[in-house]
Symmetry: D2
C-alpha cells in the first residue's frame, strides 16, 4: 500500500476552504489520492478528509504539520495529519464471549486490519490461549464486584503503559467509570448488541424477544459517560422470525456484532470518522 498523509479537519464553513487546502497541497507538488468533504447545513460546520501520496510531498510528517498549521489556524480548524504507514495501537478488552475478539484477531493476523495490538485485557482468563497464539500479551485483571476501582485503575495503567491510540471493548461486559471515559474521548469504541437506541442496557436480545421485533441489530459507537448513548459509528441488522428464541438471536446477532465492530474499527483506523457533538461524519 502506497504511503499517504491523511489530513482530517473540521471548521466553520465559509468560502475558500477547499481552495486553500488544495492550493497548499498542489503548490508543493502533492498528489491527492482521495478526498471527501461535507458541509452540514444544520450546524454550519465543514468536514474534510484528504489522502495525499506521501512521496509527492517534500515533507516529513512533522514538517507537513508545521507547514499546514497557519492555514488551520486561519480557518479555526480542528485538525490532524496522520501517516498511513504508522499503525495505530489498539488495546482490545474482552470478557468471556470470544466472537468479536476472535474476529478482530483474525483480521489483524491476516493483515486485513492495519494496526498494532500491544495487548488484550480481560476480566477473565478464558481467552488467554487464543490471544497468546497470536503472539499478543494477555492481561487478566479480575473485577471485584464489591469494589471495581482497583480493576479500573489497573486497566487505566495498562492503557497508558501500552500507549494505546484506541481501546476497543470487544464484548467487554463492564461499564467503564466516567473518569476513564473522559480521559479517552472518541478513542474508546464499543459494540452494543442491539440496534440503538432500542434495547440499551442489559440483555438486549431478551428485550428484543419480548417485544417481538422482526430484525435484530448491533451498534458500534464511541463510549461516553452516558451508557450506550455515545456517537454512533456504524449499525446493521439481520432478519429473525417467530422461531428464534433469545439463544438463536444471540447466535445470529454474533455475526452482525463482529461485522459492525470490524467495519467501525477499520474506519477509525483509517481516520474516516469525524465526531461533532454526539454524531459522526463517516467518510467511508
Amino acid at each position: 500500500m502506497e504511503r499517504r498523509y491523511r489530513l482530517v479537519l473540521s471548521c466553520p464553513d465559509r468560502v475558500g476552504i477547499v481552495a486553500m487546502v488544495s492550493n497548499f497541497i498542489s503548490s508543493h507538488g502533492g498528489s491527492i489520492a482521495d478526498a471527501n468533504q461535507h458541509s452540514d447545513p444544520v450546524t454550519g460546520r465543514f468536514f474534510m478528509r484528504v489522502e495525499i501520496s506521501a512521496a509527492t510531498l517534500p515533507f516529513t510528517l512533522a514538517q507537513l504539520q508545521e507547514a499546514f498549521a497557519p492555514i488551520a489556524a486561519s480557518f479555526q480548524m480542528d485538525w490532524e495529519i496522520n501517516d498511513s504507514s504508522r499503525p495505530k495501537r489498539v488495546v482490545l478488552m474482552a470478557s468471556r464471549e470470544s466472537h468479536c475478539l476472535a474476529d478482530l484477531l483474525y483480521r489483524f493476523h491476516s493483515k486485513e486490519l492495519f494496526c498494532d495490538i500491544p495487548c488484550v485485557i480481560s476480566n477473565h482468563d478464558d481467552l488467554r490461549s487464543m490471544v497468546e497464539w497470536h503472539g499478543i500479551p494477555y492481561h487478566h485483571v479480575p473485577v471485584d464486584p464489591a469494589d471495581k476501582s482497583p480493576h479500573f485503575a489497573e486497566v487505566n495503567r495498562l492503557i497508558n503503559d501500552y500507549e494505546a491510540d484506541v481501546v476497543v471493548l470487544a464484548r467487554y461486559m463492564q461499564i467503564l467509570p466516567p473518569d476513564l471515559c473522559d480521559r479517552y474521548p472518541h478513542r474508546i469504541i464499543n459494540i452494543h448488541h442491539s440496534f440503538l437506541p432500542s434495547f440499551a442496557g442489559a440483555k438486549p436480545y431478551h428485550q428484543a424477544h419480548d417485544r417481538g421485533v422482526k430484525l435484530i441489530g448491533a451498534t458500534c459507537h464511541y463510549v461516553t459517560e452516558d451508557l450506550d448513548a455515545g456517537p454512533i459509528i456504524d449499525q446493521d441488522v439481520t432478519r429473525i422470525s417467530h422461531r428464534d428464541l433469545p439463544e438463536d438471536m444471540v447466535r445470529l446477532g454474533r455475526d452482525v456484532e463482529k461485522t459492525v465492530l470490524a467495519r467501525g474499527l477499520r474506519w477509525h483506523l483509517e481516520d474516516r470518522v469525524l465526531v461533532h457533538g454526539n454524531k459522526t461524519v463517516v467518510f467511508s
Copy 2:
C-alpha cells in the same frame, strides 16, 4: 389461482395435533397444498396453517367448518377457515401523504393484492382524485381538533357500513381512540415510520436525525390502545449517512414504509399472521 381453504389455528401444544388435522383432511380426500406449523417452547402454544385444494374436498366452506368444529373443540383451538377465493374487504385510511396509499392502490389495481377496497377515508380532501380514478369511493371526514369524537364516530360508522374485514392506516396521522382499537382487535394495521421500539410517537425521522443513527426503518403492526406498541407484523430498514437531513430520511423512508406495509397487508390477507399476546407468528 387455484381455490383453497385456509385453516389457521393455535392451541395448547400436545401430541397428535398434526396427525388429527391431517387425518381429517386426507380422510375426506383433501390435498394439502401448503402447510406450516410452529411450537413455541416458551408459551407451550402450537400454531398451524394449512392450505387445502378446495376442489379435492366434498365440502362447502360452511360444511368444512362444521365438520372440523369437533376436532377444534377437543384441542381447545382458536381457529378459522377461510376461502381463498373470497376477497377480504380492506378500508384504507389516509391523511395528506400519499405514498403508502398510492402504493396499495397500485397493487390492488394491478391485481397483486387480492382484496376489495370498498372505500378510502381521509381527514383531508387532497387525495380524492387519485382514489376516484381507481373507481373507489372517497370519504372526506374532517377532524375538529377541539372535539375529535364526531370524526371517529363517522369513521366507525363507515367501517361498519362497508363491512370492513381489515382497516389499514396508510399514514393516517390521527391516534385512534381506545374504544375504536378495541372494537377491531388484530384487524387494524398501521405503518409507523421508524424501526420500533425506537422513535415511537411523533416525528420519528427527526428523532433519528438527532440521535445520529445509520439506518432508518419502518414497522407494520396491529393497532392496540398503546400507541405504537401493538404486535409487530413486519419491519425493514435502509441505510442513511451523515449527508441525509430529516427531509432526505423522509424521502428514503417512504420506500421502506410502503414496502413493509404492502408486505404486512399481503400476509394478513393470506391469513399468514397469527397473534399471540403482543407478538405475531408469520407463516410467510
Copy 3:
C-alpha cells in the same frame, strides 16, 4: 431547494486539478455545497462533481460555462455544467407491464423526481388512462413484427420532437436498433429484470428458476448496441426460496426493478453518473 450549478468533469489525472477548480470557484466568491472526486488508478483518469450555490456566483449558466472553458481545455476535460433548477426532459417508454411506469409517474407526480415528462410512448394502448390522468400525452406507436422500422422511425421522431434529455425504457420490451442506441449515448436508461451479467436476454426469471438461484435481482444500465451489456448504473437483489415459482419471482422482482430504476434515474437527473468506457462512476 436552493439553486445550484453542477459541474461534472473527467480528465487525465495530474497534480493541481482540484486546486485549479476550487480556486476558480472561490475566486468568484462561489460557495461549494457538495463535492466528490475519484481517481481511478487503473485508467489514470480523474472524475469530479461539484455543486456550487448559484446565488454566490456572479454568473449566469452561460457565463459560468464560458469562464470555465479555458480551465477545462487546459486539463483536457470532458465536462458540463448544469443548472439544478432546469428540469431534464424524460421521455418514458413502456409496453404492457405497468409497475415501473406507475412508480416513475408517482415519483414525478409527488415531486420526488425533479424532471419534466413531456410524453410516454408505448407499443400498446393499455396504459393510456394511467398516463393521461397525470396530464401527460400518451403516444401509442404499434410495432409490426414483420417490419419494425416504421415503429422505430416514429419513436425517434417523437424523442426528437419532444427534445428529450433522457429516454427511460420502463419495461419497454423491444430491442432498440443500433442506430437509435448510437444517437443517444448514455442518454437511454433501461431496467433489466436480472442481476446482470446473469440471465441476460429473454425471460430472466424463468432462467433464474431453472438454475435454482437463491436471490433474484434487477439492473439499471445505459443502453448500448450490445443487448444488456451497457454501463451499469445500479443493481439490487431480493431473497427467494424453493417455494417461489417464476410467477412469484415476477411479483417479487417488480419491487426490485422499480426501486433500482427510480434510483438510477434519480442519480442521472442529478448528474451523479459519469461513464467511462463500459463502467460508471456514481457519486451517490
Copy 4:
C-alpha cells in the same frame, strides 16, 4: 440441546402423506418439535422434514428406521432418519487463503457448529499452525501440476479413512476430478466467490471489476462434475462502488464468502437441505 430424530424425505406427491407420517409418529407417542413440507407443482414431488423429540419415542434410531421403512416403501420415498446427537464428520479442505477455514474452525471451536472435524487437508503447509491449535490433524498433500492424480488419490484415501460424512472446500483452489465428485454426491460443499451463474471459473472478482457490477456475491453449492454448476444451497451479496479495485472486492467478498459457507454448512449439518435434480429445497 434436546435430542431429536430428524426424518427427511421426498416422494411423488399424493393425498395422505402428512397424515400417514404424523399418524405413525403420534401413534407411538412422538412429539413433533418442528416440521416443514413443500409440494413442488412443477415436478409433482413432495418434500418433508420432521424433528421428533427422541425422548418421546420408544425407539432407538435403528428401531425407528425399521419401523418407518414400510411406510417409506409404500410412498416410494427417498428418506433418511438421523439422530441430532450424533455429530456429522466434516473434512475441511483449504489452500492458502485462510478466511473460510478460520471462520469454520472458530464456529466449531465455539460450539456454534455441531460437528466433528477429523482433519484438514491442504495442498500447502501454510495453515498448519492455525489448524493444530484447534487440536485437529493437518494433512499437507502437495499437488504436482504435471500430474495431479497422486494428490487426488491421497485426498480420496484420507476422506475414506476419516469416514467423512461431508467434505467442505473452504477455498480449496483445485478442481476435483469427476470420479471424486461422483463418489460423494451432495456430500461435497464448495464456496465460489461470485454470485453464480455470473463469473464462474477463475478470478471472479476481476471479472466483476471488468464488468462494472455494483454488487459482488458468493455461492455455496454442492460439487458436481460440472464446474461451479452444482445445486445451490445459499447465496448472498454485498454492495461495492466504483472506488473498489479487485483487491477491495477480495477483502469485502471474504465476509460474504465465509458467512454464506457457514450458513450452508450449518443447514447441511442439520439435514435441512434436500436436493432434487440440480436444485435444492432448504428448510431453513
